[in-house]
Symmetry: C2
């Protein structure tokens, strides 16, 4: 309905919300309180954010996701922000995560990337491939992206190629359906599906009957699907960018809707390390823990 893509490379508030993930209301209140962003106005008095400010907003977003407070970062200048990113990375990650495949995540090397991924899959097996290649590669890509070493298009390219390989591999397990029956999806404002595929790729070789709905299933439909489809477990994935608090709220809401006989498993970077207690929700720390959850479920079901 909108999207006049703003000739000089400046974006409207809606486009900025889409590109940075910062809500329109929040953008306006930041401007009021911290003096940043300071968009221009078009002929109609509507905000127009220059590309540089959008870029800085992306930085700010990353820092907030790292746990910083807005008062410290919204308003600081770009130099300071970059310093903070390096600092935060050193403190948190500690591991630089070097990954040999990273060099192939380039538009003109897509064929090599695809080949290398397939080769790694054959070498490590599906579960090992996901845990030892894809997971670190994901993290490396995320960090490289934050450092501005990777283009948007290249990140898309990477996601596509990994999907191709994983989906083909998962397809090989089609039809081997043993309990539990697991329904996988994400909440409506989470678009990242790689996490779901990784879980599916981890569970499928164990003979679990996995079904992914992809991203963005409304909570109500999730309940309908879980109950109507006779599922034992509903699995949700949350990427690092997902607001932590929102995940908890959504999980509690879903928990209240589902019968107690259906388990909820939740995992992903947004939940990692947070030890919020979620009654009735199994928080999965990583892929290995996913397998643990599977064993727990089967042990409990055996009684």
């Amino acid at each position: 309905m909108n999207e006049a893509p703003e000739l000089e490379g400046a974006l409207g508030i809606s486009a900025v919300e889409r590109d940075t993930g910062v809500a329109k209301d929040t953008l306006r209140v930041w401007e009021r309180r911290y003096g940043f962003p300071a968009p221009m106005r078009d002929a109609n008095g509507e905000r127009l954010y220059p590309a540089a400010q959008v870029e800085k907003l992306r930085l700010v977003r990353r820092l907030l996701d790292q746990g910083r407070r807005p008062a410290k970062v919204v308003g600081a200048d770009v130099e300071e922000l970059r310093a903070l990113i390096v600092e935060g990375e050193a403190g948190a990650g500690a591991t630089p995560v070097p990954c040999p495949l990273l060099q192939y995540v380039r538009l003109h090397r897509s064929a090599e990337l695809a080949a290398a991924l397939r080769q790694a899959l054959l070498r490590q097996g599906l579960q090992g491939f996901v845990a030892d290649t894809i997971a670190p590669l994901n993290q490396a890509i995320g960090e490289a992206w934050m450092r501005g070493e990777i283009e948007v298009a290249e990140e898309h390219l990477y996601t596509e190629q990994v999907q191709n390989v994983l989906r083909a591999a998962i397809g090989a397990y089609a039809g081997t359906g043993a309990p539990p029956r697991v329904l996988l999806s994400t909440f409506p404002d989470e678009v990242h599906t790689l996490g779901l595929l990784m879980v599916e790729a981890t569970l499928a070789p164990e003979g679990a009957d996995c079904l992914s709905l992809g991203a963005r299933t409304p909570i109500v439909d999730l309940r309908e699907a879980a109950v109507g489809g006779g599922f034992d477990v509903v699995g949700l994935s949350f990427s690092a960018a997902y607001p932590w608090r929102q995940a908890l709220d959504g999980l509690l809401e879903l928990r209240a809707m589902l019968p107690a006989s259906i388990a909820i498993w939740a995992g992903g970077a947004a939940l990692k390390g947070r030890q919020k207690r979620l009654p009735g929700v199994r928080v999965v720390e990583d892929l290995a823990d996913t397998l643990a959850a599977l064993r727990e479920w089967r042990a409990a079901a055996a009684d």
Copy 2:
């Protein structure tokens, strides 16, 4: 921050936006203008939408997607809406598009769906499968969705299963790179990727060097990618839900950004049948026409 999980099954305005796809501002303005929805208020004066109203909003949304005007549907009662849905479907579709696979698009029949898809693929070959099975099935699903015969979750399920099969099949052509080099994606507000996969599945067997970036690539990044990656063609896909005019604007903008040596191909339901004059853009009517475009390009390149 939000999401007090709405004890009586009523949702806050944010949750309703998520679940229905109607923006908060729009919900408020509908209330002001048409008297619907008419949410309750919580202790703090904030809107609380009862489940029934959310359900009705879903109906309204469907009718708007069908092309109805808000004045006619927001405000009508549920009976009328249901009547309109039946009527609209009779007038528009005309062809019931019976598709045998449609019966398997059920949560408890996902295994049968996957098996039937694979079987059809083997029987028809990749190109035939896409043209004669997936394309009609897509349309049938769309119509069934309009009629309310299909759940959100079931539509997601379908998309996932088709992706699994297509991506596995496309993977088999990896590495066979003959010109032209084709970059595929969608504009930032188009999330549907099935169209891209169908194009890729149609071109790959012809030996074309296809690379999909998935959905939602910003136009600027599309230019960077096309130029930097040495592509000959940029292909864009537009689902039926995409605003027609917006597609034209975006295509013209992209055309202006790209060097003349890079062709633009555009296709999808949003462009089908429209009388369009788009200088420098090859509008592709359907999958067969995609192959025609490929032949044209190769003929021109041979000079």
